[in-house]
């Protein structure tokens, strides 16, 4: 075989080895478990809770209404969505500047669902060594049964996840009943299966590859880091030179550091890196290596913290500062925007009224000589109860108006009305500014004012 032929048969692609994270116990593992239960609990339970007779969280796209804990948001309220997204971004910046990749290690959906899928894998296939052995072994009855059971659990959990996701966009009880009655629509079916498949694929197979290759946050995070940001780091000065030893050995005599090179920190890492190589962007700061190393240090009667949450400044023996300008700026901005958003959301007027001029005719002269402008009135009742609205034009007592039909709307309804304003013939010429006030008969606090321009003939009154 020639060199060229040989080269053509050699693949340049090297398959990424599968990561088998070893199970770990410890304080950070405990908090990760708490985070998983809390976040997944919220995700799976929230759509089933009703507030004021309405699903607590429901993004009703066909009706163009978002229901959040008794509040209803309309497309016109998109400013709140933008503000909430800004708050989410600032929260991420704030916690990243303060404590590094807290989000990645404890709250990211990829981490949370992968954790649950790993639990299921461990229940069915056993610990790390058993899983590796099973994967390397032949396809016998034991392997087929265990693999089938694992995928059955994964698929069931993924289907439940997809079902819940769709339940945030369509009333979940009705959706559940529709599934049992085999009467769900094509779009609901598509999104249910799509999100189930995404969960199954991301948490079951892609896992750390998502963090390493697909997640943009990992690439951007360095911009939010400084030398006082908390990172998970191996204390190289204390740990090196690394090497095996007996517990009773004199490490000074052996010329060794505190790292016993057990490689457990590598074995527990869900992204398969060696934290002893330094800070790497593949590290999702789950702190599994901290937990396992602390256990080893305990076992060897060495002080804990060879791998720990620390800062670059602390590692270099310098003083670390928590209160830094960037933390202060992110924190202040976050507080201001969050407080003002919540205040605005809870005190907003649940009424919107738009007046659109009839484009066909600027004005018309009535048989009795009065001038009339015609508008289309669009009223949105954003409240949870029905309202009848009264109309007034403060400061323009000479004007009269007609509205057809009566402006009465049920909860969450949108209505269109024909609205006309009449002015006496001697009012003037050109145009005048008119404030039209809409007020609920039931609750005078629910009122809005629309500014319009009333057009008059140019020579009127001359």
């Amino acid at each position: 075989m020639s060199a060229n032929q040989q080269a053509s048969h050699e693949s340049l692609y090297k398959k990424e080895p599968k990561v088998y994270p070893r199970d770990v116990k410890g304080r950070f593992a405990f908090w990760r478990k708490v985070s998983v239960y809390l976040l997944l609990g919220l995700y799976y339970v929230l759509p089933w809770i009703n507030v004021g007779g309405q699903q607590s969280v429901l993004f009703d796209l066909p009706a163009r209404q978002f229901h959040l804990f008794g509040l209803t948001f309309w497309p016109q309220d998109f400013i709140y969505l933008a503000l909430l997204l800004i708050c989410a971004g600032l929260t991420l910046f704030f916690f990243t500047a303060l404590a590094g990749r807290l989000w990645c290690g404890f709250a990211c959906p990829q981490t949370v669902w992968t954790e649950v899928f790993l639990w299921m894998e461990k229940w069915v296939e056993g610990d790390r060594n058993k899983r590796m052995k099973l994967d390397k072994g032949p396809w016998n009855r034991n392997k087929i049964v265990r693999k089938s059971l694992k995928h059955f659990l994964w698929i069931t959990f993924a289907l439940w996840t997809g079902f819940t996701f769709v339940g945030f966009f369509t009333p979940i009880r009705e959706f559940g009943q529709a599934i049992f009655a085999a009467s769900i629509g094509p779009w609901e079916t598509f999104w249910w299966l799509f999100y189930s498949f995404a969960t199954y694929g991301n948490a079951g197979f892609l896992r750390e590859q998502v963090c390493k290759y697909m997640c943009p946050y990992a690439r951007f995070q360095s911009a939010m880091f400084d030398h006082d940001t908390l990172i998970i780091s191996y204390d190289e000065k204390r740990g090196e030179p690394r090497g095996g030893r007996r517990k009773t050995a004199d490490i000074q005599e052996l010329g060794l550091g505190d790292c016993i090179d057990c490689t457990l920190c590598v074995q527990v890492c869900p992204t398969g890196i060696d934290i002893r190589d330094g800070l790497q962007y593949e590290c999702i700061a789950c702190a599994a290596c901290v937990d396992v190393c602390d256990q080893v240090m305990d076992k060897m009667d060495y002080p804990k913290g060879l791998i720990r949450y620390t800062t670059e400044n602390a590692l270099e023996g310098k003083k670390s500062r928590v209160a830094r300008p960037r933390v202060f700026i992110y924190g202040t901005l976050l507080t201001i925007i969050l407080v003002s958003t919540i205040w605005n959301m809870t005190t907003r007027t649940p009424l919107r009224a738009d007046l659109l001029r009839d484009r066909n005719q600027l004005y018309r002269e009535l048989p009795d000589g009065r001038i009339e402008n015609v508008y289309t009135l669009k009223i949105v009742n954003m409240d949870q109860q029905a309202h009848m609205y009264t109309i007034s034009m403060p400061g323009n007592e000479a004007l009269t108006w007609t509205v057809d039909p009566e402006p009465q709307l049920g909860a969450g309804q949108v209505g269109r009305f024909s609205f006309a304003i009449q002015a006496p013939a001697d009012l003037g010429s050109g145009s005048i500014e008119v404030d039209v006030r809409f007020e609920s008969e039931k609750d005078p606090d629910i009122s809005v004012v629309s500014d319009i321009r009333f057009l008059l003939p140019a020579d009127q009154g001359r």
């Binding site: 943009p216 095996g244 016993i260 090179d261 057990c262 590598v266 074995q267 076992k299």
Partner: protein, 124 residues
Amino acid sequence: MADKQNTVQNTVRGRWSRSKRDWGVSIWIAFLAASAGTFLMFAVIDPEVLGDAWVMNWHTGLRLTYGLGFGFLFAVALLATRLTSFMIRTGPGRGHARGKGKRGLPEVHDPAENNPDLSDEDWK
């Protein structure tokens, strides 16, 4: 080595730097995508009937609506192409975090190897 390569690359007359080429490709692909999207928008959307659909009380003319539509599609496509370019360029290279050159895959072994006191642990 990398610096040397960059220097050689930059000395080739008339050749753009990698960053400029990335920007050029990103802008061009975003333009093509926005153009295709505008064809579709022109075929299926009548801006005249959008009057009531706007969330804001806007009354845009035909040209402005199509212009804004193209601008929006171009901005979204450019964001996607730039992000793709960034993600590819900054992908994992297995470079050593401590500046010690390439690093291989981490080696693992039995924790008790050379550490006999760990042998009775459940890590075994």
